[in-house]
């Protein structure tokens, strides 16, 4: 039995810290990803997602902290981790002056995949790139580069996938296919840690973590995260919403207002006070207000805006 099977966690890290030239970019991050789980990693730009992922797969040495990936110690066993983890970098890091087939072949040789040729052929076919196999990777469009990179990091059938914004710039259909594929893999016992900025992807994850300015603010299922923030939310429809938004922002119970197209979401932690204030300002002005379930996006925007005050409040 591998240590991973014993612990049941594909990733289990505690208290990871990283400083760059004195700048503290990852602060005491602890994460647990179960086997067969799709774990979404969210947070604004520069919050430390990429840095955290790099520490997990041995590309960066944490200043402090411990943990395991697939049961291997992230500090001591980076060779084993590299062999059994598939890591897709955020920016395209394959060789532009090699063809698609050559890139895949190089990866296959590196991981010493048995039946290398067939594996590469299969991967090309799945990608739908068999006819473009001899095209230089550097000549691919951005979305196709992402797809190639994804195929390459899954070539050696890793037990754990660390995907850093794998679908950035990928068209909706390809994204849907990709997520279907991830779901199938997860059902087969493969664990996935995926960073993303897309809400529709976040809701497809089994678990989520939200990081801001290096601190993990929330971790758990989508419901847990939503409940953890104790927000009640109202959806408001009507005309001149921008004016209304200005007015609402001044109210004590209104923590945030966000426009989604024709709808204004107003959220706050004090439900009773919020309800009263909404009735005063909205209903009296003849607009329609309706209490709705707080969704993930409301929570994330809330977390983003309250990163400092909530720094200690990990769920």
């Amino acid at each position: 039995m591998t240590p991973a099977a014993q612990s049941g966690f594909a990733i289990d890290v505690q208290g990871l810290n990283k400083r760059f030239d004195g700048k503290h970019v990852v602060k005491d991050v602890s994460l647990r990803v179960r086997r067969g789980e799709i774990f979404g990693f969210l947070g604004p730009n520069g919050s430390g997602k990429t840095t955290t992922i790099r520490m997990m797969c041995g590309l960066l040495k944490p200043d402090s902290g411990t943990g395991t990936c697939l049961g291997y110690d992230i500090l001591r066993d980076s060779a084993e981790i590299k062999r059994s983890v598939g890591y897709m970098t955020q920016s395209f890091s394959f060789w532009n002056d090699l063809t698609i087939a050559e890139n895949l072949d190089f990866v296959a040789r590196m991981y010493q995949i048995p039946g290398r040729r067939q594996a590469v052929e299969r991967s090309l076919a799945t990608l739908g790139m068999t006819s473009r196999a001899r095209q230089l990777a550097g000549e691919l469009s951005g979305g196709w580069k992402q797809r190639m990179a994804l195929a390459a990091c899954m070539l050696h059938s890793p037990q754990l996938l660390l995907l850093d914004e794998p679908t950035a710039g990928v068209d909706p259909r390809a994204r849907r296919d990709f997520w279907d594929e991830l779901q199938t893999l997860a059902a087969g016992g493969i664990s996935v840690l995926v960073s993303t900025h897309y809400m529709d992807e976040a809701v497809r994850c089994h678990k989520l973590a939200y990081i801001s300015a290096g601190t993990l603010l929330a971790q758990g299922t989508a419901e847990e995260i939503i409940e953890g923030q104790h927000l009640s939310t109202w959806a408001i429809r009507g005309d001149r919403l921008a004016e209304l938004q200005e007015e609402l922002r001044k109210k004590a119970a209104v923590a945030q207002t966000v426009t989604f197209g024709e709808v204004l979401h107003v959220s706050g932690t004090n439900a009773e006070l919020l309800e009263r204030e909404i009735e005063q300002t909205v209903v009296s002005s003849g607009r329609r207000a309706e209490k709705i379930d707080t969704d993930l996006e409301d929570v994330f925007i809330y977390l983003m805006g309250h990163a400092e005050s909530n720094a200690g409040g990990n769920a």
């Binding site: 040495k61 060779a79 590299k82 890591y87 970098t89 890091s93 090699l98 040789r109 010493q112």
Partner: protein
């Protein structure tokens, strides 16, 4: 299997293939590989190939006869020498050489012709200002031929008997020294007793070109990955530092050998440098030297943060190599501290090795003192490179 990872030939080969493919597509680098030796050979070769002619020559003649006149005339006709001055005595000749007014002084001793006729084998002395041996070398090389032609022209008829020992086999340059000649010409090189001839330049050039291109190109090998962002991918894969580094070096071994071949071909067929040694030994020496330089380059590559730094390091390394390796100045003539530095540079050993093999036909025993330092250097630097290789993105 925990802890240290073992060397995998399969992964190493993956790196080799990748480097070859990338190199194949990099036209500019490829042009440089072939272009640098050709350009350097053309530049330096120009200096080699322009055999300097009409060099100012003074005559100190204490004996006048048909033979001596014929000899002086033949020198003039050879076009290497230009007789500009008659000097009263040897002393005056020395002074003129010291002042740099003359390149050569020909001393014909008193009673030369009489001694010749008595078969006493007299000798003409040519003193040369050999400060710059590339200037005087070819002129002096022609002297024996001149003497030979004088013998054949002047010692005819009743004097033909004196020709005894003169060479019949004209194609052999050594023939003249073989038998006792009717008279001889001894050359006295002043100011530069070292036997440096123009031929030293071509083998030296080989070392220079290999140092420059090998260190520079491999210096870029890893920094390029870092700058293009592909290093993150490479580091995330299970390759060990030794696999990556040695794998990256292999194509450059081939390139080094191509360059060595270009230089050797040019030396042989364009500049007519005589080859005495075994060509296999020449390539073996080149291979050793290439390996040494590649480890220097790859060490720079893992030390430097970016390609610019790698190039700067390569140039920083290149300069002492030109000056202190015995390519520009005779090694023995350098001050002690310079010799100490020179003694750790692979080019120093390669220069000795290749000159020994090419020009003197040295074998294993003669070469060994220059071979083992090259091997040691390579192993030590490969170790340094592996240690300094950054295994993370920190």
């Amino acid at each position: 299997m925990k802890g240290r990872q073992r060397f995998s030939a399969a992964r190493w080969w993956a790196v080799v293939l990748k480097e070859f493919t990338q190199l194949k597509r990099d036209r500019l680098t490829f042009a440089m590989i072939v272009g640098i030796p050709i350009m350097q050979m053309a530049l330096f070769g120009f200096a080699i190939n322009t055999v300097p002619r009409h060099l100012d020559t003074g005559i100190v003649s204490a004996d006048e006869s048909n033979v001596t006149r014929s000899f002086i005339e033949a020198m003039q006709n050879s076009s290497y020498f230009k007789i500009v001055k008659r000097l009263p005595n040897e002393q005056a000749g020395r002074e003129a050489l010291a002042r740099g007014q003359l390149m050569f002084v020909v001393n014909i001793p008193a009673g030369f012709t009489r001694q010749l006729l008595r078969r006493e084998h007299p000798s003409i002395l040519i003193e040369a200002d050999a400060t710059d041996p590339t200037t005087t070398g070819s002129a002096l090389a022609a002297v024996n031929g001149i003497a030979q032609s004088v013998v054949q022209r002047e010692l005819t008829g009743p004097l033909a008997g004196l020709q005894a020992g003169a060479p019949n086999d004209r194609s052999s340059s050594l023939g003249w020294e073989a038998g006792p000649a009717p008279f001889s010409v001894s050359v006295h090189q002043l100011y530069n007793p070292d036997e440096i001839t123009q031929y030293n330049v071509v083998p030296g050039l080989m070392g220079m070109i290999l140092t420059l291109t090998m260190v520079m190109m491999t210096g870029l090998a890893i920094t390029r990955e870092r700058e293009r962002g592909t290093m993150e991918n490479l580091l995330a894969m299970p390759a060990t530092p030794l696999e990556v580094m040695t794998g990256k070096l292999v194509p450059y071994v081939g390139i080094g050998l191509i360059q060595a071949s270009i230089i050797l071909l040019a030396a042989r067929y364009v500049f007519f440098v005589p080859f005495f040694g075994n060509i296999g030994a020449v390539y073996l020496a080149a291979l050793l030297f290439i390996a040494a330089n590649l480890t220097v380059g790859i060490t720079f590559s893992s030390l430097a943060r970016n390609q610019l730094q790698a190039v700067q390091l390569a140039i920083f390394y290149f300069l002492p190599n030109i000056v202190l390796s015995g390519f520009m100045f005779p090694f023995k003539g350098m001050p002690g501290w310079a010799q100490v530095i020179g003694n750790v540079l692979p080019l120093t050993y390669f220069n000795r090795l290749i000159r020994g093999i090419l020009l003197k036909g040295n074998g294993w025993a003669d070469s060994w003192p220059s071979v083992w330092p090259l091997m040691l250097f390579t192993v030590v630097l490969m170790g340094v490179a592996v240690i300094t290789y950054r295994r993370t993105l920190d």
